[in-house]
Symmetry: C2
Subunit: 302 residues, 2 copies
DNA sequence: CTCGTGATATACAAGAATGCATGGCAAGCC
DNA sequence: GGCTTGCCATGCATTCTTGTATATCACGAG
């Protein structure tokens, strides 16, 4: 094949990568952090690309850089490169038949803290070469962008690229610590809750909407404590600051709390295990997925 | 932005490039030649990519490598990367406002040899910083793959991505050297040509088809000499080996030949200047394009 | 069968890219 | 205004990559 054929791809692709991440992140320093490199390196790579292409990509105005007009023309193409690179990386992980290597699991912090440790130990017995990274976060990670390999969710994902397994269902009930109940009284019906103190996890407004759809007559006035961390919120409940709705299996692992208004039954909460379609073919991720599925399902039957 | 967002593009993109070119070229050595690198370098880059992805891309069986099944799955994605890279490179050349740098022109060898030298000298006077590379080849180069920046053609290109300027028309006539005419007689009508000796350029079959569509009653028996090089073919005519159809302006620069059967007029032959749409915005290429257009048009009027 | 060609793998030296440290600068905040 | 913070640019030591030369191997021709 004629060597001129490859004239167009002869430029340094890592410099293109530097350009892409810098443009998306908005600064060389941020791009360096994102790529695990240093700011001088990124600066030099971008400068070298500008030199090679004969195009000024960024306007240096003191603190921050902004794309020039020619840079704007090019950034779409390099984005396309990046998307192809992402698909390639994803497919590669799927093709990897190695049993050792990293697997990244994401779950809410509560799920992580209360359910994952025993599962991970079990996984370690089965496949000690697998390194597990747990992203315990309540923000939903994008599996398509490979922000995690496996996600544990309470909702069924809609995207067709994702495959999901319905592991089991749990239920949510009302719980409080004895210290709280002695101070505020022991409610026996839902109507008794109008003056109660609740601990909310996540966004207050969203929490309120969820709670009311399950039949509790709460208002913003009831939410005295809140945290984006579910573990933190639950800790506040344990220490008697307020009541909360909690999954039954988590509450049963928490001797400090007791069930309140036992005849209040909320909607069942499903547990979904989600991964990307491409990753099904990976032995490593498939193994973790199956172990998680089996362990979490059994966990709920206890 | 979360750093995990870029997890998928953290791998070495130059290694992806090595993978792409190796897969397309079929060997590390060929890929090294294509990229202007060396075979050990390509070998190490591919090996490092296999290591990083945890996937064996090529099967080493002695002399040549072949893609493994996982490699086949990945090669499409890296091809997409390469195509995006090509588009980026093309767009970058278009955005480049630098007047210095390379411009690659392709034309048939005859056109190159007979018309280009004075034009290039004129170009050098106007813009001495431009480096011109002439690909004198009768194979049609793919402008979309950037195998050249500007092409001089005798046919109007069809692709919408290309822009073409009709520079001028010339005509083709019959020519031979006196030595030939003295040996074979001086034909006065088209019918006298049935036993004549012709020199063909390019593919014999295609040449014959073109020639017969212009009204000459030739058969394969008339084509005694042929060459893929138009210059070589014309040289044979000059030395009296046979007759040929030739563009008028080329023949007029060749005192060794004379016009035969002057009342035989073939169809006019157009001259098109072609470039890629993306390259219109490049000052450098635009300049070369305009100088070529002006010089070639004037050339024909003499 | 031997040899030639063209391929991949390896050893070592030269070169280039990287990281660290620093300096300078602009913007936001007491 | 002075201070802090976060950014980009540059000098220097180090690491890593690349290229050269060479060994080895497979296939095909004579």
């Amino acid at each position: 094949m004629a060597s001129r054929t490859w004239q167009t791809v002869r430029f340094d692709w890592n410099q293109a990568r530097a350009f892409l991440v810098t443009a998306e992140e908005g600064s060389l320093s941020a791009a360096a952090r994102a790529l695990g490199l240093t700011q001088p390196t990124l600066g030099r790579q971008v400068a070298a690309l500008e030199e090679a292409l004969g195009v000024t990509l960024f306007e240096r105005l003191g603190r921050s850089l902004s794309l020039t007009e020619p840079g704007l023309e090019l950034v779409d193409h390099v984005k396309a490169m990046g998307e192809a690179a992402g698909r390639m990386s994803l497919a590669a992980s799927g093709q990897s038949q190695a049993i050792e290597g990293q697997v990244c699991i994401t779950a809410s912090d509560l799920l992580s803290v209360y359910h994952l440790p025993p599962v991970l130990e079990r996984l370690r017995c089965i496949a000690p070469e697998i390194e597990v990274e747990v992203v315990a976060s309540n923000e939903i990670r994008d599996l398509k962008r490979r922000e995690a390999d496996i996600a544990i969710r309470h909702v069924r994902p809609e995207q067709p690229d994702l495959i999901a397994k319905h592991v089991r269902d749990t239920t949510a009930h009302l719980y409080a610590a004895p210290a709280y109940l002695e101070r505020h009284g022991r409610p026996s019906t839902v109507e008794d809750l109008v003056d109660s103190v609740f601990v909310a996890a996540g966004q207050p407004d969203r929490y309120l909407a969820d709670v009311r759809s399950s039949g509790l007559p709460l208002t913003k006035a009831n939410l005295k404590y809140m945290s984006d961390s579910g573990v933190m919120a639950w800790e506040m409940v344990k220490q008697g600051l307020g009541m909360a709705i909690m999954f039954r299996d988590v509450a049963e692992l928490t001797p400090e709390v007791e069930n309140v208004v036992p005849d209040f039954g909320t909607v069942p909460v499903p547990l979904w295990l989600v991964t990307h379609r491409e990753l099904r073919t990976s032995r490593r991720i498939r193994l973790v997925f199956d172990v998680l599925a089996e362990a979490l399902a059994r966990d709920g039957s206890t």
